[in-house]
Symmetry: C2
Subunit: 337 residues, 2 copies
């Protein structure tokens, strides 16, 4: 076992091993008093700020070859680097309070490139009504950007992956599968509209929707869909101990993505198993549905069931199939994209 490579166990299994090292330091509790949610279980860690607020914080590392399609402009790389982190802040129902950017770049990078990158970062931070507060610059063979975003939220409004109950409705903002369709179009050199490409190149963190949803008091669990809808369902299921039944006909898919897909099989593949969409998936107490229905662009796509029922998709003909646990995962040879 000692010689096992990380690629053979995948990102989530490795996270779980490392979380054990970080969370269980020989039973010592010193230095852990303020930690409400630690490493591994949610989009962000949550720290107690003593008063009514808590601090949420997240970090994400991106690399040029693996995370930025060659068609992306430096501005878009900057935007994306900020967006992945701000989307995690949104996933907790929090309001962003700052972002830090560590940038490693080849020594022969042109200053104009770095300035465009910075402008993209700044534009995304501004869009989310926050600011770049710090960072680090470093030389590195490949462009590498690690962002860290901070946010705050009232403890009473904090949204976790845990909290969904059987009977809750499952909702999603925006569309699913658009970023995946854009990536597929690029890889297969098929034409696709600017709108679909933008979903991949300039994903919009749902920070505004997140705040409205958190304030509504109707949401029982939430996360973002950046690793794909299926992976998100499995993460919510594991933390909340629920199952899910989704209705295929209800999945919000952009008309141009429907047009792009070669058939219903590919469409479903895009909608469920591709990453890159920065939408929010969340569960709503049905008694409080009215509180969220008209406050943001959301679609009800199914409901929470008992854990034992698993995660299933209901076709228009009422046939049930199992939604598989796959999607975007780092460190794994068999990732979907």
């Amino acid at each position: 076992m000692k010689k096992t490579k990380v690629s053979s166990i995948g990102e989530r299994a490795l996270i779980s091993r490392l979380s054990e090292i970080f969370n269980a330091p020989e039973g010592k509790e010193r230095g852990r008093e303020g930690i409400l949610v630690g490493a591994g279980s949610d989009d962000c860690a949550v720290l107690d700020l003593k008063g009514e607020d808590c601090l949420v914080v997240t970090t994400d590392m991106l690399h040029r070859t693996t995370d930025f399609p060659v068609e992306m402009t430096p501005w878009q790389m900057g935007w994306m680097s900020a967006a992945v982190n701000l989307s995690d802040i949104a996933a907790m129902g929090a309001e962003p309070t700052g972002i830090l950017m560590a940038i490693g770049m080849p020594a022969d990078t042109e200053i104009a490139f770095v300035e465009e990158l910075a402008k993209g970062i700044q534009a995304c931070a501004e869009f989310c009504e926050t600011a770049v507060v710090g960072g680090d610059l470093d030389t590195h063979a490949e462009l590498t950007i690690t962002g860290t975003a901070l946010g705050k939220v009232k403890k009473s409004q904090l949204l976790l992956r845990k909290g969904a109950k059987p009977g809750d409705l499952v909702c999603i903002t925006g569309y699913t599968g658009s970023a995946g369709a854009a990536l597929k179009a690029i890889q297969s050199k098929k034409p696709v509209s600017e709108t679909v490409l933008k979903a991949l190149f300039e994903p919009i963190p749902r920070t505004r929707e997140a705040r409205i949803l958190a304030e509504s008091g109707a949401v029982t669990s939430m996360m973002d869909t950046s690793d794909g809808l299926a992976m998100s369902l499995y993460d919510l299921a594991r933390q909340s101990k629920v199952g899910f039944r989704l209705r295929e006909a209800a999945l919000p898919i952009h008309p141009e993505v429907r047009e792009f897909a070669s058939g219903p099989g590919e469409l479903l593949e895009l909608a469920l198993y591709t990453g890159g969409d920065f939408e929010l998936i969340f569960t709503v107490n049905p008694a409080r549905l009215k509180k969220v229905q008209n406050i943001c662009n959301l679609t009800i796509i199914g409901e929470c069931t008992k854990y034992e029922t698993g995660i299933v998709l209901e076709s228009p003909e009422c046939r049930l199939t199992i939604i598989e646990q796959r999607g975007y995962q780092q460190l794994k040879a068999e990732t979907a994209d």
Copy 2:
């Protein structure tokens, strides 16, 4: 100018350009309300927590080839990655409240390696009485670790690079030049003691000393010496608008480093112009010197002068020479190490 490479202007000049993009978004102030200290000027950014506390946060990216000598164990790489960030928290006089670690690694990295790395991170976090609260795992050609550390400090106790006044005494914790001597020893394959090697491989963030110093009320400015003593003096000078006169005979140099150096010239080079020591350099109001004198291991190495006087070193024969503005700097061809 547009085609200029980043290597031609160096880290500090590039930081200053990017800070302009991040700090002046077309005059908009939205999202900037809580920022007490923004990108670029200090070891950490400082955010207002509304109550009496403020939040300090910093991020640092390390790469295997450039930041970890080949002699380092994975445990030491982990320790170091946590230590660079926790040292920045100490530099602000703050108490660490959590650390996040984004790790990019080759897919064929052995799990045992990653686990050792994690244990080193955990050990350093525990030493500083804090914990790893989050992170990210990623595949990457070269091992890359970006840490982010958070801390808190009462606004009244926050220590910045700004605040030193002419007449203040300049102090430093521990020794200067030890990490530089260790690196030199490795590069030139000269033997050196375990103690000196440890200064480079397992640097100790001065988080405890920092808290005591901040609470004393006697310290007027502070930062860490990770980029070298000379660079730190220039950073303090720029922010505080003071000059410095250091006494050569007062510089605290480890006996084994004195023994290692080939002569007084090399000794001074190590003490002033090499990075990697994670000591605190700070200025003290002389009227309050007694408040700090016996609370931690410190050495008075000189005093603050008027800005116009520059940064000078006084030899045992009372001869003054200018301390140069060089040391450890990323993105710069002519870095000292």
